[in-house]
């Protein structure tokens, strides 16, 4: 069953046609990678999913419900979490707080005026957050202020912040951009590990190593349109893709 259905999305920036009749269907439980050369419109497409950009025309439906015109928080509450290209975390709060905040957002909804009870009353949230930090390997740093974390750890933390919400769909915008090979491999392992939870993931990625390690389905975007879609092995052999993209990377 398709969890995310994108049909006929068009987006222009002035004279530039960034997205041209994009069709995409993400099956539940899959890891769907969107690849393509620079400027292919990958990030634009992702921004259309999360309400940051409004497409000129077309539909984006998540579990049968349109996402267009919704505020970012409404999209998140519907079950879509997002990891940013550069880690977006609460830099001057503690690691544990960073994970507890999304947990509260999940438990309490978009707004709850709970100004009287101490946070510590919600021990179950705290325990869940601690467990998750253990799982992603940040338990030792849980009292630390986030700005002191390494880039790789920030990325891991951001992932944990998404995971604690048990999203139905997780959007990852170049989760290994700017990482060392070792960090990249760690991230791949981590993503594989969380793959066991059965969360549907959409990954935008440059790094073919990452894509072929994780993806179960790949869509190739070039000049704003999907030129190919299929299993990793099919994509690898597709001449159109090699022409548009792979040839340029695998020199």
């Amino acid at each position: 069953m398709a969890i995310l259905e994108v049909s006929d999305i068009n987006k222009r920036f002035g004279g530039l046609k960034a997205l041209d009749k994009v069709e995409l269907s993400v099956e539940e439980g899959t890891v769907h990678a969107i690849i393509g050369p620079n400027g292919a419109g990958k990030s634009t497409l992702l921004n259309c999913f999360v309400g940051r950009l409004a497409p000129d025309s077309g539909t984006v439906t998540f579990k049968g419900k349109s996402l267009l015109g919704l505020q970012p928080h409404e999209i998140n509450q519907a079950g879509v979490s997002r990891v940013f290209q550069t880690p977006e975390i609460f830099e001057d709060l503690s690691v544990l707080d960073n994970v507890m905040i999304p947990a509260f957002a999940k438990a309490d909804g978009a707004f709850k005026f709970n100004a009287w009870h101490r946070i510590s009353r919600r021990a179950e949230v705290r325990d869940e957050a601690s467990d998750l930090l253990e799982e992603v390997g940040l338990a030792d740093q849980s009292k630390m202020i986030c700005s002191a974390l390494s880039r790789g750890d920030k990325r891991r933390l951001e992932l944990a912040m998404c995971l604690i919400q048990h999203p139905k769909l997780l959007l990852l915008d170049e989760p290994t951009a700017g990482m060392s090979r070792a960090d990249t491999n760690n991230t791949i392992d981590l993503l594989k590990k969380i793959g066991e939870r059965g969360i549907t993931k959409v990954i935008i990625e440059h790094d073919m190593h990452v894509v072929f390690s994780l993806a179960t389905t790949i869509s190739v975007l070039a000049q704003g349109t999907v030129i190919a879609e299929g299993k990793p092995e099919d994509i690898k052999g597709d001449p159109r893709v090699q022409e548009a993209y792979l040839g340029g990377v695998h020199q």
Partner: protein, 392 residues
């Protein structure tokens, strides 16, 4: 672990209460132990605590909070004029009016963030100030200011038009047959709100205000506010609708300002538009950052320091300075007096401006953080790579 932090808060609250309630004794040696000044400390402490809920927690810098202080004062004086000199209804009504006013202004201003928010709040405060001086004169009594007056005589001719700004009604007091001689002063069910009773009334409210702010800071709501300050964008993508959180924080801090305004009116039943001027908004910002924005005790401390120094410096004049420097030889003394005269008396504002600059330049985290840094320096400990923010 959980119990420990709760217990630490109780200890903080008890220590705070004891310090506030014993202030008349403990502050006497430094010459600040008289009720007028103590009451000012308490009132501006409340104002700063409230301001800190907005600025310290969410990082939204309002330059218009004095407007709520003004609204609080006007509302309280109207309660005195129309109903009763009892302080409780006045305080309640001020809270209500300031809350409504803050809801309105906050709803509009919070559609923007950053410096735009600061400028919209500034614009609203200036609007309120200008209106209070001009069109709203029937309510604010313009430049003269709104005051408690004598009762309107009951046996006046039918064609007389009652002018409420000049003559009062005090229906409730009259219904209870309170006899007034001259212009009455505020009371708490008969206990006159002047001198120490006045201070203790404000002090109890300060402790209450502190306690509420503490609960807010430690709550989920407070955590969300801190997250807004840290990264509002992330918080939205985390599924949180930040605007109602901000609006709630804005209204709460507006009500704190209204409470402070009503207490100013309880102390001295007079309200003037100058209380709403944007320099007054600037002052509460200074109190908050001086003590330490985002901390609980800092704003109260900042308010005390500024109001304390203000009354100290303003009271100085050249004679006092001459006595102070009398140990110096004549020519040196003249120079010393000449220079220091710039900063005292009328020149207090200059000192205030300099303090403003020094604080922002050297200790942007406020004096509480400054102390922490000094202590750390003496312990010769290298600064922790990730020092947890003190929230005391």
């Amino acid at each position: 672990m959980l119990g420990k932090s709760a217990r630490a808060d109780w200890i903080l609250l008890i220590v705070f209460s004891v310090l506030v309630l014993t202030a008349p004794i403990t502050l006497t040696p430094i010459g600040a132990g008289y009720p007028d000044l103590l009451q000012k400390f308490a009132i501006y402490g409340i104002f700063a605590i409230g301001f800190n809920i907005l600025f310290g927690l969410t990082g939204y810098l309002s330059f218009g909070h004095a407007a709520f202080l003004g609204v609080g004062s006007y509302s309280a004086v109207w309660m005195f004029k129309l109903f009763t000199m009892n302080a409780i209804p006045a305080v309640m009504f001020s809270l209500l009016m300031a809350g409504l006013f803050a809801l309105l202004i906050g709803y509009v201003s919070l559609r923007r963030s950053g410096i735009y928010f600061s400028i919209i709040t500034l614009a609203f405060a200036q609007m309120s100030y200008n209106l209070a001086y001009s069109v709203l004169s029937p309510i604010t009594n313009g430049e003269t200011g709104l005051q408690v007056r004598q009762l309107a005589p009951a046996d006046r001719g039918p064609d007389y038009v009652l002018k409420l700004v000049d003559e009062d009604l005090r229906w409730v007091d009259q219904a209870f047959g309170v006899v007034e001689e001259g212009i009455p002063i505020t009371n708490l069910f008969g206990l006159k709100m002047s001198g120490y009773p006045g201070f203790y009334f404000s002090a109890v409210l300060l402790i209450l205000a502190f306690y509420i702010a503490m609960r807010i800071t430690r709550s989920n709501f407070g955590m969300m506010l801190k997250a807004i300050k840290s990264n509002q964008n992330r918080l939205q993508y985390t599924g949180v609708n930040t605007r109602p959180y901000l609006l709630a924080a804005f209204v709460i801090s507006g009500m704190y300002a209204g409470l402070a305004g009503s207490l100013l009116a309880v102390t001295d039943p007079l309200a003037g538009a100058e209380r709403m001027q944007w320099t007054a908004s600037g002052e509460v910002v200074l109190m908050t950052i001086l003590g330490g924005a985002g901390t609980l005790v800092g704003p109260v401390l900042g308010g005390m320091i500024i109001k304390g120094l203000g009354s100290l410096f303003s009271s100085y004049n050249e004679n006092i300075l001459n006595q102070f420097f009398s140990f110096l030889p004549e020519p040196v003394r003249e120079v010393a007096v000449g220079i220091s005269a710039l900063f005292v008396g009328e020149g207090w504002e200059l000192t205030l401006g300099l303090m403003f600059m020094i604080i922002v330049i050297f200790v942007p985290g406020g004096i509480l953080q400054g102390f922490t840094n000094i202590i750390r320096m003496f312990r010769r400990k290298k600064p922790n790579p990730a020092p947890a923010k003190s929230e005391a």
